[in-house]
Amino acid sequence: MKFQIDSSSGPHIGIVTLTGRVDARNCTELQNSFMSWLMDTSRFVFDCSGLEFIDSSGLGTIVSCLRKALDHNGDLKLAALSPKVSMVLELTKASKLFSIFPDASEAVNSYVTGTKE
């Protein structure tokens, strides 16, 4: 899990790169980290290109992160979902909660252009 701020397109956008698995074992770490990242920005892109698996706890944490970002007048967008992760999001209807983009750069640009997917 890696965090960086992208200011190239104007606004500060937090890009979180998720890799491997987000599950019961590491979701607390993501939750805690997200609270600290919120001090820097409220606009996030979760780059899921390296994310292989997500379970109920992981999904719950990402939804909770979205809620917190929205509470701070920001947003959390998902990018580059693998087919498997995408299937889990569709199964649980969580895909309806997020704006989902094919890659991180499109998700970042959407904050500038206001595009919704």
């Binding site: 698996f53 199964l91 969580a94």
Partner: protein
Amino acid sequence: MKTLIVIREKDYGWMSSFFPGVHPLVVPICNKPFIEFLLDFAILAGSTAVRIVSDGSLNSVEAYCETGDRWGIELGYGSIRQNDSDETVMEKNRLFCSEDRVLVINGFIFIRYADKAGLKSFFAETSSGSLSRCSSGSIELTGIPEDVSAAPGTLPFSLTDLHSIDSYYRLNAEILTDYPSPYVLPGYSNEPDCHMGRNVVISKGAEVIKPVVIGNNVQIMKGAIVGPSAVIGSNVIVDRESTVSRSIVLDNTYIGEQLDIVGRIASGNTLVDPETAFLVSMEDPHLLAGMNKAARRQGLVLIRYLAHAAIALLLILLLILPYLFFRILLSVTAKWQTRAVTFYGANEGKSFTSALPSISCGGTTCSLFTRLSLDRFPMFFHVLAGKIGVIGSFPLEVKESGHGETEIFSGYRPAVFSYAEAEDWPADAGESAIVERYYAVHGTPAQDIVLTVKAFLNRMHPGEQE
């Protein structure tokens, strides 16, 4: 006429990743094993004997079809080698094929037909040779026709390739929407396009939209929508507010709350997108139970323990005298023994051992001992110690091979009685796991008290289980 079914591993190998451990001939198509469709066709074509040959194991096919008595035919099995040519296969089955017309179904193919009645006369009159071919197989006829003067007619059947999970999915959907369907589908059907098995419970507020096929022991909970174009296998629970449409749910599957299964194949904890052939194995069934449920349930742990301990204490007080009576009686007659059994605990890596009575007697004494659940009496003390529940999952025995571990699911809560016993669900471990998963998600301490009483009474009055 006779029919020879030749099926090779290379044709059906792709199925093993989607249906591990299930022979492709017994994989269900609209809740009916595939082999039954082939046998139906062979019988309609006029066959009285069928032989299935394969280069893979046919054990599970043989276990299912046996000698063919169920269909009124003579059914046999044989093996071939992987690199046997079609000619070699025929040569190896010369005895079966001699002195008669033989219909040879070669490959992993589905045979479509519309006119059932015309098949027999067609095969009786048609000259021998290759009748139809597709990329996955062919149909051939050998021998001399009964009526050589008859002009060859148009083929009353066609072949469908079964070469991918998408073709399997589409075939199910097409059979389901074929109306009027020439195929006999399992279950009763009061109206077209709707086939229901036994013990199907559709809760108030649930919706079933045709066409659907629903298997045995199925619960469709409040607010759930099943269909259109849904195939639901046996021992399935579709939980509250979930949608299953344009999908196949195979046997022994629990679909949790508020899920969308659209255009998918669900089997146990596996979800397949037939279009892309992507497969997701859900490692935790709670994913199928809504995202915040698990956290909310943590608060129930203490209340549940208190409720279970109270019931266990009550049952100890109630049963201690009969237990001691039987123990003394059977010890005197040297029929009392105890057996230390180790079971997997609720938490990963934990286990507990219980010295369970193992009495060596038959008749009324033994029956009464079991009916009063005295065979499980020592386990009530584990409930007081907080190691197990009074009602939950069938405790899984620790085996030296470690095989039992694979059967543990994340809602596993070992207990004296199982939810399956309370609900008179089939006793098979795989099937009872479905009802246990359901209560792992929905069970409340109050419900547990009621279900413990039900399980206790069900053991006291064992009914006929299917």
